[in-house]
Amino acid sequence: MKHIINCLVENQPGVLARIVGLISGRGYNIETLNVGPTEDPTVSKMTIVVPGDSHVIEQVTHQLSKQIDVIEVVNMTNRRHLDRELILVRVATESHNARAEIVDLAALFRGHVVSVQEDSVTIQMVGNQETVADFLCLMKPYSIVDISRTGVIAVGREAPGASAAKG
C-alpha cells in the first residue's frame, strides 16, 4: 500500500539530500516527492509517497522523525485528508476522432486542454491518486507522448490532533 507522508522540515540547505539519502540508504522507495515553502519561511513541507506495508511505513516515519532537521512527520494516510496531484500529459492525436475523444474524456475528469498541436493535445489535469491513475489509464490507448507530474501533495481535513491518527 502507498502511504502519503507529510514532513515539516527546517528550510536549510541539504535537508532534501538528508531525507532522500535516509530513505534510499535504508532501502525504501520513494514514489513521488514534493517540496515547497510554507507560510513560515523557515519551514518547508515535503510530501513523500512511499509504498510499503505498515511495518515499513512505521520505520520510515520513525527514521524521518529522528532526523535533526525534521520538525514533524505525519502519515496522512492514517487520517482524514485531501490529496492532489497535477499532471501535464501530451497525447498523440492521430485522427480527428481521437482528438475529440481525448478532449471529451479530459472534460469528464475536469481536465483542461492547455495546448493543441497538429498531432497532439496537452491536457492539464488535477486529481487525487486514484483519479489521476484512472485518467491515465483511459489515455493509454491514445499513446502518451510525454508526461510530467508534480507528485502528490496533501493537507489534513482538520487541525492536527483533531483525529485519532498517530504521527
Partner: protein, 587 residues
C-alpha cells in the same frame, strides 16, 4: 571566554569581535573539552593558530582515523563527548570509519573538519571533499557553517545533539574563510531546537502495563544493551533485577552494566554469548530489552528469537523499537527513568524454579576452553588480565576473536570498563581507542586486547601513547591468522584458508621472506622503535609476570602473546541460526 556580558544583549556592538577560529576554541572550552585529538592541515591552520593558547590538551594522532578512535575511546571510558579536529579533503575522509564506528555504537563525538573557502566549494579545489555529503549517513547530524555569526550557536548545538537522546557523532564542517571571519556572536547558554526534543516524558499507562507484565511473568529475563550504559542505568537495573529476581544478560556493548559476579548474571548473549543466556532467551516468557536493539549478532534467526516470550522494548530511539523484532510493548524513553518509574510498581518475586533452571545451565555450560600443552591459549591470557588487574582493568578490544575472548573470559563488574567496536566491528579500533580511554581515565589500568591483524591497522598511534606517557598495555594475541575469518573458513568453508594467513611459515613459499626472526612484522622491534617497552611470551607462566611488570611500570607496553594458531571462539550460534544449532566444542 569573553562572554561575560551575554546577559546584556543590547551591548552586542561593544562585544569584542572574535574570529571564527577563536569561536571554535571558546565553544570547545564551554562544552568542557579536556582533550582534543586531531591532525592539522591547510584548511584548519587558523584554528590550530588559536589552539596554541587553548586551555586544554591537544593530542596529535598519526592518522585522522586514529584521532577519531581516540576521541571515541575517551567518550566511552568517561561518558563525556569526545572531540577531534582535522583538516579538509583527505583529513576529513579519513575520519569516516571512525565516525561510522561511533555512530553504530551511539558514542557522543564532535568532529570539526576544515573546509575550503565558501566561494571555492564545488570547484574541485585543492583538498576539497563534500564532507557533509560523505558523512551524512554515518553521523547523527552534521553542519556546514556558512558564517562565523552562526558558529557559536552551531558548536553548542553540536554538543547538545551529540550527548542527548541516543548519543552519536556530529560533524561541523568549517570553511577556511569562516574561520578568519570576525563576529560578535556569543556562545549561547542553552540550546533549544524545535526540530529536536530528546526528552521524552514518561508515559504512566505504558509503565503500568510494563509493571503488570513483570508481575505476571514466571520466567522473566532482562536483556540489557549499550543504551543502559550511555544512560547510566546500572543502579536502576540492579534494583529491578534484585527486587523481582530477574536474571540479566547483556549485549557485548553493555558488558559491566550488571556485575557478572552477581548470581543473577547470565553474561553475554548472542552469537558468542553464554549457553545459559541464549537458552534463557529461548525459554523466557517475558523479555525486557533495555537499551538494546536486537542486533542480528544477538538474535540469529529472528523468527525463532524469544518466541515464547512477551517482549518489552525500552529505547530512547523510537525507530529502534520493533525495527527487527516486533515488541509487544514499546516504552519510548531513557532506560534509567523508565526502570526507576516501574520499580515501585513491581512486586518482589522469587522465581525460584526459573532461577534454578537458569543456574543449572550456567553450571553445566560455563565459558571454557580446551587446554593445550604445546601452545598458549588466548583465553588464558584474558583470564590473566582479569586476575593480575584484580578485575579493575579497562579492557579495550580490537575486533575478531580477541574481542570475543575478551568478552567471555574477563568478569566485568563495572560499566565503561569494556570498550569495543560492537556495531561496525572496526578492526584497528583497539589501540587508538585504548589511548583515548586512558586520556580520560588517567589512574585506571588500561589494557588493549588486540590481534596480530587489527593492531597493524593503526599501529602508528602507539607513539602517541609513548610521547604522552600513556601507560596503555597492548596485549597482542598473535595466532598468525586473521583469526575470526579463519574460524568461519574452518567451520563453514571447508578449511579453505583464503587470504587469512599472517604468519611467515603459513605463507606460500614465494611470499616467505628469508633471514627474518620468523616474525614478520616483528612486533617487539616495532614497539621498541615507537619507544614502548615490549616482550614476547610463549608460555602460561610468562603471562602473569609480564602483565604485572607492565601494569606496574607506568609505561607504554606491548606484550605479544604467541597463542595457539587455530583456537576458536565457542560457543557459537552460526549466523542466522537458532540457539538449538549452537556449536560448543570446548574440550
Amino acid at each position: 571566554m569573553k562572554d561575560k556580558t551575554d546577559t546584556d544583549m543590547s551591548s552586542a556592538e561593544k562585544q569584542p569581535l572574535r574570529s571564527g577560529a577563536q569561536c571554535v576554541i571558546d565553544g570547545l572550552v564551554k562544552a568542557g573539552c579536556e582533550v582534543l585529538f586531531g591532525y592539522p592541515g591547510g584548511a584548519v591552520l587558523d584554528i590550530f593558530n588559536c589552539l596554541y593558547e587553548a586551555p586544554f590538551n591537544f593530542v596529535l594522532s598519526r592518522h585522522e582515523q586514529g584521532a577519531v578512535h581516540m576521541a571515541d575511546g575517551y567518550a566511552r571510558a568517561t561518558g563525556k563527548p569526545g572531540c577531534c579536529l582535522v583538516t579538509s579533503g583527505p583529513g576529513a575522509t579519513n575520519t569516516v570509519t571512525g565516525l561510522a564506528t561511533a555512530y553504530m555504537d551511539g558514542v557522543p563525538l564532535v568532529c570539526i573538519t576544515g573546509q575550503v573557502a565558501l566561494d571555492m566549494i564545488g570547484n574541485d579545489a585543492f583538498q576539497e571533499a563534500d564532507v557533509v555529503g560523505i558523512t551524512r549517513p554515518v553521523t547523527k547530524h552534521n553542519f556546514l557553517v556558512r558564517s562565523a555569526d552562526d558558529l557559536p550557536g552551531i558548536i553548542a548545538k553540536a554538543f547538545y545533539i551529540a550527548t542527548t537522546g541516543k548519543p552519536g557523532p556530529v560533524v561541523i564542517d568549517i570553511p577556511k574563510n569562516v574561520q578568519k571571519q570576525m563576529t560578535a556572536a556569543l556562545t549561547p547558554e542553552t540550546v533549544v531546537m524545535r526540530s529536536y526534543r530528546p526528552d521524552v516524558p514518561i508515559n504512566a499507562a505504558e509503565i503500568a502495563q510494563f509493571a503488570e507484565l513483570i508481575n505476571n511473568a514466571s520466567r522473566p529475563l532482562l536483556y540489557v544493551g549499550g543504551g543502559a550504559i550511555s544512560g547510566n542505568a546500572a543502579e536502576a537495573l540492579a534494583q529491578l533485577a534484585h527486587k523481582a529476581n530477574i536474571p540479566v544478560t547483556t549485549t557485548l556493548m553493555a558488558l559491566g552494566i550488571f556485575p557478572e559476579t552477581d548470581p543473577l548474571s547470565l553474561h553475554m548473549l548472542g552469537m558468542h554469548g553464554s549457553v545459559a543466556a541464549n537458552y534463557a532467551v529461548d525459554h523466557c516468557d517475558l523479555l525486557i530489552a533495555a537499551g538494546a536493539r536486537f542486533d542480528d549478532r544477538v538474535t540469529g534467526k529472528i523468527s525463532a528469537f524469544a518466541n515464547k516470550a512477551t517482549i518489552v522494548h525500552i529505547d530512547i530511539d523510537r525507530s529502534s523499537i520493533s525495527k527487527s523484532v516486533r515488541s509487544d510493548l514499546g516504552v519510548h524513553g531513557y532506560v534509567k527513568p523508565v526502570l526507576e518509574a516501574v520499580l515501585p510498581l513491581v512486586k518482589p518475586a522469587e522465581h525460584t524454579e526459573w532461577l534454578e533452571k537458569v543456574n543449572r545451565w550456567k553450571e553445566r555450560f560455563p565459558f571454557t576452553y580446551p587446554k593445550n600443552d604445546d601452545a598458549l591459549m588466548p583465553q588464558f591470557v584474558i583470564e590473566q588480565i582479569d586476575a593480575v588487574s584484580e578485575g579493575k582493568a579497562v579492557v579495550v578490544t580490537d575486533v575478531g576473536q580477541n574481542q570475543m575472548w575478551a568478552a567471555q573470559f574477563f568478569r566485568y563488574t563495572r560499566p565503561r570498563n569494556f570498550i569495543t567496536s560492537g556495531g561496525l566491528g572496526t578492526m584497528g579500533f583497539g589501540l587508538p581507542a585504548a589511548i583515548g580511554a586512558q586520556f580520560g581515565r588517567r589512574g585506571a589500568p588500561v589494557v588493549c586486547v588486540t590481534g596480530d591483524g587489527g593492531v597493524q591497522m593503526n599501529f602508528q598511534e602507539l607513539v602517541v601513547a609513548v610521547e604522552h606517557q600513556i601507560p596503555v598495555v597492548v596485549v597482542i594475541l598473535n595466532n598468525g591468522f586473521l583469526g575470526m575469518v579463519r574460524q568461519w573458513q574452518e567451520l563453514f568453508y571447508d578449511r579453505r584458508y583464503s587470504g587469512v594467513v599472517l604468519s611467515q611459515k603459513g605463507r606460500a613459499p614465494n611470499e616467505q621472506v628469508a633471514e627474518t626472526s620468523g616474525y614478520l612484522p616483528d612486533f617487539i622491534k616495532m614497539a621498541e622503535a615507537h619507544g614502548a617497552c615490549a616482550r614476547r611470551v610463549f608460555k602460561e607462566e610468562e603471562v602473569g609476570p609480564a602483565l604485572r611488570e607492565a601494569l606496574a611500570s607506568g609505561k607504554t607496553w606491548v606484550i605479544e602473546c604467541i597463542v595457539a594458531p587455530e583456537a576458536n571462539v565457542f560457543p557459537m550460534i552460526p549466523p542466522g541460526a537458532h540457539v538449538a544449532e549452537i556449536i560448543n566444542r570446548t574440550v
